[in-house]
Symmetry: C4
Subunit: 317 residues, 4 copies
Amino acid sequence: MLRKLKFAKPEDEYKDLGLGTKFSEQKQRIINRDGTFNVRRVGIPRHLSFSIYHELISMSWLKFNLLVVTSFIIANLFFASLYMLVGTNELSGLNVSQGISGFWDAFFFSGQTLTTVGFGRVSPIGFEASIIAAVESMMGLLGFALATGLLYGRFSKADTKIIYSRNALISPYKGINALMFRIINARKHQLIDVEIQVVFSRLEILDGHTTRHYYNLDLERKGVSFFPLSWTIVHPITEDSPLKDISLEDLEESQAEIMIIMKAFDDTFAQTVHSRSSYLYSEIVFNASFENAFVNIPGEKTKFDMHKFHAYKKVLK
Amino acid sequence: MLRKLKFAKPEDEYKDLGLGTKFSEQKQRIINRDGTFNVRRVGIPRHLSFSIYHELISMSWLKFNLLVVTSFIIANLFFASLYMLVGTNELSGLNVSQGISGFWDAFFFSGQTLTTVGFGRVSPIGFEASIIAAVESMMGLLGFALATGLLYGRFSKADTKIIYSRNALISPYKGINALMFRIINARKHQLIDVEIQVVFSRLEILDGHTTRHYYNLDLERKGVSFFPLSWTIVHPITEDSPLKDISLEDLEESQAEIMIIMKAFDDTFAQTVHSRSSYLYSEIVFNASFENAFVNIPGEKTKFDMHKFHAYKKVLK
Amino acid sequence: MLRKLKFAKPEDEYKDLGLGTKFSEQKQRIINRDGTFNVRRVGIPRHLSFSIYHELISMSWLKFNLLVVTSFIIANLFFASLYMLVGTNELSGLNVSQGISGFWDAFFFSGQTLTTVGFGRVSPIGFEASIIAAVESMMGLLGFALATGLLYGRFSKADTKIIYSRNALISPYKGINALMFRIINARKHQLIDVEIQVVFSRLEILDGHTTRHYYNLDLERKGVSFFPLSWTIVHPITEDSPLKDISLEDLEESQAEIMIIMKAFDDTFAQTVHSRSSYLYSEIVFNASFENAFVNIPGEKTKFDMHKFHAYKKVLK
Amino acid sequence: MLRKLKFAKPEDEYKDLGLGTKFSEQKQRIINRDGTFNVRRVGIPRHLSFSIYHELISMSWLKFNLLVVTSFIIANLFFASLYMLVGTNELSGLNVSQGISGFWDAFFFSGQTLTTVGFGRVSPIGFEASIIAAVESMMGLLGFALATGLLYGRFSKADTKIIYSRNALISPYKGINALMFRIINARKHQLIDVEIQVVFSRLEILDGHTTRHYYNLDLERKGVSFFPLSWTIVHPITEDSPLKDISLEDLEESQAEIMIIMKAFDDTFAQTVHSRSSYLYSEIVFNASFENAFVNIPGEKTKFDMHKFHAYKKVLK
């Protein structure tokens, strides 16, 4: 049965997730493990929803490189056709190549113009061809500026990689229980001023309507100045916690999901980065605690062993 | 009659709009729907108010492209004239083209130098022409660096697009009324940590002077962590609200305007973005509520239907 | 006589100016009108204090351009000498120019290599010259990347221009007096979330030592969401104000200075900008109020007339 | 003996350092003087921990330059081999150089293509060579875009340089003692809104386990608006301080370390910068106070003398 829980405290509202209460029939998780949302929007006109920069910066490297190469080829085919149109006699040095027809020679001349390499074996001597070559070299400069700008933009985009422990655990903690999970910054570059928000979400029946509700979970600590090793996020299940006395069956029946939002400052990229993830009810393990992954050998640097990052052991209640 | 409302609470002052009380005679709205201001400034010397970067980054693409092409042509005309001035005998390979006069050949040579394509059919052999060509190629590099920098700067500028519902509604809400409007992020890229401020502005008569006053409206929630679908902003019209018992006639007589300021972090562009809009008294609808635009089909992803975004239905009071 | 004022409140300490109490003998102002500091540091090793990027980005345009041109010339002289050293027979096409000696031809060839324009009339045929040309073209690419990066970096640097009214006034205000000054954003681009801090600084004698003290002045409003026209900053001289009952003579004797720190978000440049200024005791006018610079003509847009920005009129006490 | 100190106040927890209590056996300091961490992580797969951008932006200039030059040479060797493979008869102008074999001529031609200098003495005339040259010039543009982007990215990276006084002192202060250290911004560019956090860390024995504990130290001022000269950070050792009545022996026995985290806005680079450092117990000097480094000569600008920055003198208790 879906019990009604007490509402989140007013001061929690500021950090509302903005997901709304309408997620009632969706059997899938709302936030995927990789932080994307499991929702759809329909009816937004493409000229409004489409952002060409966003597409070009977030497509795969394979697609991006194919796009650059294809554009280069198409541009050359286009300009080669133009040169053929105004006549091959407007290009000096054409048709002297070994085994290259006039069109392909114009094609390669176009390539040398677009990239501004300009060998000069072939060069424009007619008025129209000269104009086309001038326009082409300018467009080459501008076009390659976009391509190389995007290339570097993609390359220098913050590539923060936070690893979340495979499971969230309900572990014994200072006489009570606590919900715990671990995160680690996979990259070598430091994250600074890390803040985390953990939200418990579940379906509830109110006045006969099934709606989704959200509860901020109080954390042992909401943020850390930096974390060179790993950080275990702890929500003590006190009397005030919405997880108080909850069972795995409750979680499953109410389609419970623990949502996590992380915000930090990446020192290498000098920008604020975000990470999202979630634990579905089936990824929460009761009566288990994380294995110690710290290695303290006297006289050596303190080590964190990633191999034990996801590991936990069952504890007797 | 323009009644005097009680003043906004002191703690609201921090978020003062900075518009001042002098907007008394303006019949037009103060903030346009697109977020620009309906005001004028006179007397600021042009060398102070003019920011060339701002102009170049915010002009239309048509204007920008025309400017780039025109500058390229003018620069080439200028340098061609220089080459003609020092004498065509300082350029080897000139005047051998088909149907191109010396000037145009110098013009195209200049183009090949500015873009650094440098075919080399024409090349400088005299001292002066060599100097001009050296200067030109350097200026070409610097000039095109500016042009391409601006091109990419324009291209990679955050293009956040927030759609505001056509009307703000006075709807029934938890036993009282509430002012409501909806916003949606038209783009596919996520907005994070969205904060909103809603200000009610109206003319009031104080000591015989008509001045404009501003009141922050308390919101059900001032911010959300993200909003993948739409967000309905709600101002409950409690006893403390400046909208308490107000009628459409009151709003019109006092030239009322609801001003909205939004701030968010755009994850794709990794920068803080702002959006402004306003509802004039004539865009506020009494006794109406928004139609449900969420579609929940069991087993499918939750959908938001944009076609119903602006739709509302009248409700009996 | 330098009276001891009561200390600033503890909560003000956070916004401490960081100037210290040691500014006791300096007759000049501490912060200049343009926001620079009137202090000196000695003994910091140059390799620590010198930041080449800072120098290059903040030097005047004249200096920057001269530096670019000079570097270009010196690099060409250097590489021309190298080509002469390995022998002119390693460059094909040399010495055929009209009236150009071999050195200058090598000089211009170097220029064409550095800018990658590469006409090809002169080209390397020997091994050593080919190596030098390869190195030179690579260094040209890298060097011009730095130059054009800096050029665009300078060009796209936020050029916020805040104008402060020439004088700060002690004006009648709601039955008491208030310290007032006006600021205006000279640029057309919007400033958002503007915050201001005003600090009153004066010399005081404590235990026979003359030290400088700082007092945060409470403002009518500490910030505005935006200010499309002008903003009058008001410090009401209440019973708690350190300016209570102070006279022009007091200000002069204690070398008083009103320091202003402004912080805002520039929407065009998408970055946080800062502005500083100060009013020395001699720039504070008692018993005066600013002239109204707003023009309200019914049916027209509200105008702000910059010509009246600095204007004030004396008021009878 | 490692006494148990009272816990830090709850409100301090937000600024938790994120270091954890596991640093119990490490004899070395945890944070080095230069702000790096003395810890190790093992077992993180290289494809997760490796960030190519981070490597390229943070490697030494020597390494970076070597990498660029080496890549250029390897790319040219590769393309030269390709040209040899398709046959030297596909390149016109080859083998006419003085003392250069066909391979090296192809090598230099490749260099001229990659950098787009394209002299044209050698140029592709066959189909395959033309294709290779087209691909090479495109890859040259893209490759050099990455190299020059990184070059400028490295060059324009905020190079904030904070100098921390060599020692932290326990000095007499307003009737009690205080922990003090000085910092100075070595660069000429201004730091704004400087915030500092000082954490006292030591080993403690709790229930027979030796764990490391962290205490935020209350500061006289946690931040300054700017500091054009130097800033002395002061932690008054009040009754509430964890340093109350502590001796040098206590500090040594408990492996005490004072950790410092600084955050500021760099005006030249328009970005938030961070600095970390620490004082190990052996770098804390009891009963000493800093020498005055300010020079006040009437009529001159106030000077700060860096030579006295680290200097302190012993004081009688």
